[in-house]
Amino acid sequence: MGSPAVTETMVETRRLKKYFSTPKGPLHAVDDVNIFIAKGETLGLVGESGCGKSTLGRVVIRLLEATGGSVLFGDQDIVKFDKNDLRTFRKRAQMVFQDPYSSLNPRLSVEQLIAEPLRIHKVYPNERETSVRIKELMDTVGLAQRLATSFPHELDGGRRQRIGVARALALNPEFIVLDEPVSALDVCIQAQILNLLQDLKDQFQYTYLFITHDLSVVRHISNRIAVMYLGKVIELAHHLEIFENPQHPYTQALLSAIPIPKLDIVRKDRIILEGDVPSPVNPPAGCRFYGRCPSRQADCLEETPELVEIGPNHFLACCHPGAITAQKQPAQ
């Protein structure tokens, strides 16, 4: 894939596959995904529940083992890492989990939770330096020092997620996978955490893979957006390009579903998809979206469309793109 020459690539996946074996056959959670994330950018990964976006995020930092393909981190393939390589890699790539209620051990206090990555990697030789670092991290993520000895069950969701962020930052990683970091939080806390993540990125130049199903969230935080459907990335472009010039019928349908916050209008351009997402176990041949696509044509079933560059930095996997773009006329 023609990555932009000006920026360095942080993470790149090549024909990455992750199948889960089920009694009915292999479940294609991630199938032949080719994406790259440039150093210092935020790649938003959107898709509906079960499309494989969280699986992709976990395979990229090797919380799950890939079935095939490779994940390049810098110039190393992390799929081939042995135990020692992996331990070093863990310091460079971290993850913030979706649910701050279940991703924190209920028996550990805030300081113990934040200290855990530091202790696992024996970053500091003594407790004193560790506790200095814990205080610093708590300041960084906006947790009051008085909470240091509290337990997670005494804190609200926003504060818990700040702990999760502090844990991810503790080892000074370069790359952070954010797996729906705000979807378990209520709306006003969502904004706080998103601002925090944005500020941290500006301050420390992190590279983010931001996984979400919430389009309004991804619009504000991402540089580029990848849309996933049934284990495949079907469109990948600059965030404004995706919102203003979506080419894949699925992306168009997805964007048309964003509610407009006005009472007296009804979206006329709403594209209603018919049918359900097919099962990712033994998915249909050809285009995965065929069964629900409003602009499908007979030859769509002949081969699986590959992700190709159709415009500057705009990648698309569709045989007949742009067929229904004419309908996109925002109702006033």
Binding site: I61, L86, R107, E116, P117, H121
Partner: protein
């Protein structure tokens, strides 16, 4: 004290345990029993083996509060010394079962797959044999004695612990904070020691308390059958066996050791039930 901080789990457990009167009663009885066992030589009015054939078959009196047995030995003194054996067998057998069964169960639950199958099927085999029969077989094979009795009772209780620990580990392994720890680069040993075991200690402690009662009962049963502690050292089950022949004329010889067994087991069951309720997170506050 980090452990006894106001909102720590241990503190909350103790607060909840204190509200349960039966559990508190059970705790006191066990404390008294423990002190009795430790200070038996000081507390017992007579030596456990001192025979006094002139005073044989004495009913309870001031000189012998619980009477004397067929050799004129003081029953109170024998019950006090017997507490040593019962508690030792109970605690050590359960510790043995908890440790070995716990390790096997934790391995089975954590690694899963074929290892899990092999370990748990072996446990099923042990389960299929009635526990008392299993204990009898082992005790008979090893020969009598405190050590062998403990081993026999411990092995009989092992599969229960393997199963409980495996279940508890399985429920924790799926939690997201285990994945989070792995993501940070934690080793398996770190995850098991820092995350899994502390979070599945509640069912293990509860089961441990309840199993001590069963172990004491099993030890008494084995001694009753002559497979446990050998005379003249007193064991409550052995004392019951000795009084068997005189049940019609000198019932108190059987009643008092029987009461000792009953009270101990009752106390442990109260305590275990209380701990189970106190550690149940659904009943928090």
């Amino acid at each position: 004290m980090v452990l006894l901080r106001k909102n720590s789990n241990l503190y909350l457990t103790l607060v909840r345990l204190r509200r349960n009167r039966l559990a508190v009663l059970g705790l006191w009885i066990m404390l008294i029993l423990l002190l009795t066992a430790v200070f038996a030589p000081l507390l017992a009015p007579y030596h456990y083996a001192t025979q006094n054939l002139v005073d044989a078959f004495e009913p309870p009196s001031w000189a012998h509060p619980l009477g004397t047995d067929d050799f004129g030995r003081d029953i109170l003194s024998r019950i006090i010394y017997g507490a040593q054996v019962s508690l030792q067998v109970g605690v050590f057998a359960v510790s043995l079962a908890m440790l070995s069964g716990g390790v096997l169960g934790a391995i089975a639950g954590y690694y899963g797959g074929h290892l899990d199958d092999v370990i748990m099927r072996f446990m099923d085999v042990l389960f299929a044999i009635p526990q008392i029969l299993l204990a009898i077989t082992i005790a008979a094979a090893l020969g009598p004695g405190l050590m062998n009795l403990t081993i026999a009772v411990g092995i009989a209780a092992l599969p229960t612990f393997a199963r409980i620990v495996r279940g508890a580990v399985l429920s924790i392994v799926g939690q997201e904070y285990i994945e989070a720890a792995r993501c940070m680069g934690a080793s398996d040993a770190w995850i098991i020691a820092k995350h899994i075991l502390p979070n599945c200690s509640a069912p293990i402690i509860v089961q441990g308390t309840l199993r001590v009662a069963q172990a004491i009962l099993a030890a008494a049963a084995l001694s009753f059958l002559g497979l446990g502690i050998q005379p003249p050292f007193p064991e409550w089950g052995g004392m019951l066996a000795g009084s068997r022949g005189y049940l019609r004329d000198y019932a108190y010889m059987a009643v008092f050791p029987g009461l000792a067994i009953m009270i101990t087991i009752m106390a442990l069951n109260f305590l275990g039930d209380g701990l189970r309720d106190a550690m149940d997170p659904k009943l928090k506050r």
